[in-house]
Amino acid sequence: MPYVSNLYRWRALAVLPLLMLLAQGCGPSAAAGTSARQRGYRGVVLPTPLSKPAFSLTDTRGATYDFRARTAGKLTLVYLGYTNCPDVCPVHLANLAAVLRTMPEVARRTEVVFITADPARDTPERIRAWLDNFDPRFVGLRGTPAQTRSVEAALELPRSLVPDTARGAYRVGHAAQVIAFSPDGHAHVVYPFGTRQQDWATDLPRLLDDRWGER
């Protein structure tokens, strides 16, 4: 049974880091530490920021998309999934699209990048048609299986699990978090499955303007 089949298992995984933070202590100093670490974000703040990796994949028009260059200076939300995903992927992208529709100024400064974890079935046309259901501005990228693995490693994501493609219908096990690269070129916060529209609406404007202090 692929591990994407049950949303609640994902949700449990999603809240695990938060529970771990809460479990560290109940005293005032512990609470202050948690608060400082989370900086008031609804997403999970990474203990060590992730530098935006350099890679190039093919976009839905067939052109080469240089990820670092094309997203420079923008808030970039990267998500790795597949168009046949019945639950996590469409929920994540639909929620992001719904929130960005209500915040045109934020949307203008934000790039949503979807990378397929299932290049065998996700043709550029299929990816485009699927993304257009959410927002035509969303960027869709596709690479060879080897390129996809390399991108996953660069984004510090677990490797996708694609079963035997010869058997037709299948599900792909993949990471469920959206990685948010701030305009400073680092990902400080990730958004596991379970992130609500209200969470995005709270965090997106902050992610655009946060200077991340000492950095």
């Binding site: 019945p86 609500r196 529209q197």
Partner: protein, 283 residues
């Protein structure tokens, strides 16, 4: 086949594959057999003219409950669509209870009167003030996002929702539709006001659902998409259903109360003995 006791949010993509809910069947079967037994026992003493109508009301009430609790309405309402959850609420709490009460034979109420303790408890629970408070409290509690999100994932949670809705629905409608004149001073105009007051809380919840900028229930926002409707629109439809259909059911109840009252008044005027002629003036 995955047999469940009661519907709950499953977190798996929606399909039209039928799902059996054993607890729902047992509950509906027990309810139906209780009514059948009550009618068999009451047959001899019941008013023949009202028998068919009352049995039809009972059957309709049981059918509405069954629709609300079983697949597909129960499944969709528990874990996919807030609008279907609202349909469940309307059926369980507003539509089925008056039919179930109207469908009870009078003999069943008479038997209740023979048990002083049970009658006392029933009277206390169905006092209009107590019933209104309980109904509104349960309605508000069962629409609070954190409560919904916490309870809809478990079969026990959804069972609690359904039973609380049914119980407080019966409490609400009892002073209006129980076929025994228990509270002679609770006159039809007061009953109409009482039912109207019950809808006030609906307005607050409905407008909250309609006017919220984002989906308020995580269970429906994060559910595997059905592809029919976005979570926010679904929530707005839920609010609209509560506002319009909920009010329609309650106003139908009010109309029935007023119609019965006017019919009874007219009948009383017709049945009244003719006025005696005044005695001739004495000279």
């Amino acid at each position: 086949m995955n047999v469940q006791w009661w519907c709950s949010a499953l977190g798996v993509p929606w399909t039209w594959t039928w799902r059996p809910y054993l607890g729902v069947w047992i509950f509906v079967a027990l309810l139906a057999s209780a009514y059948a037994r009550a009618w068999r026992r009451a047959d001899a003493e019941e008013d023949r003219t009202q028998r068919t109508g009352r049995i039809a009301a009972a059957a309709a009430g049981i059918l509405l409950l069954w629709i609300a609790l079983d697949w597909p309405v129960g499944t969709l309402g528990a874990g996919y669509l807030a609008s279907v959850h609202m349909v469940q609420y309307i059926l369980t709490s507003l539509a089925a209870p008056p039919l179930l009460l109207a469908g009870l034979p009078r003999a069943a109420y008479r038997r209740l009167a023979e048990r002083p303790r049970a009658l006392g408890v029933t009277r206390a629970l169905t006092h209009p003030v107590a019933a209104l408070i309980a109904f509104d409290l349960v309605t508000v509690l069962t629409h609070i996002p954190t409560v919904v999100d916490a309870l809809m994932r478990s079969q026990l949670g959804t069972f609690s929702f359904d039973m609380a809705w049914l119980a407080t629905g019966l409490m609400l409608w009892w002073p209006v539709f129980a076929p025994v004149p228990e509270r002679p001073r609770f006159l039809p105009p007061l009953r109409a006001i009482y039912l109207f007051l019950a809808t006030v809380v609906h307005m607050g919840i409905a407008y909250y659902l309609i006017l919220s900028r984002f989906p308020v229930y995580g269970i429906y926002e994060l559910a595997p998409p059905t592809g029919w409707i976005s979570p926010l629109r679904d929530q707005q439809v839920a609010g609209g259903l509560m506002l319009v259909v909920g009010a329609l059911v309650v106003w139908t109840g009010i109309a029935v109360v007023m119609f019965r009252w006017m019919s009874a008044e007219a009948a009383e005027r017709t049945d009244a003995p003719p006025a005696r002629p005044l005695p001739a003036p004495h000279h």
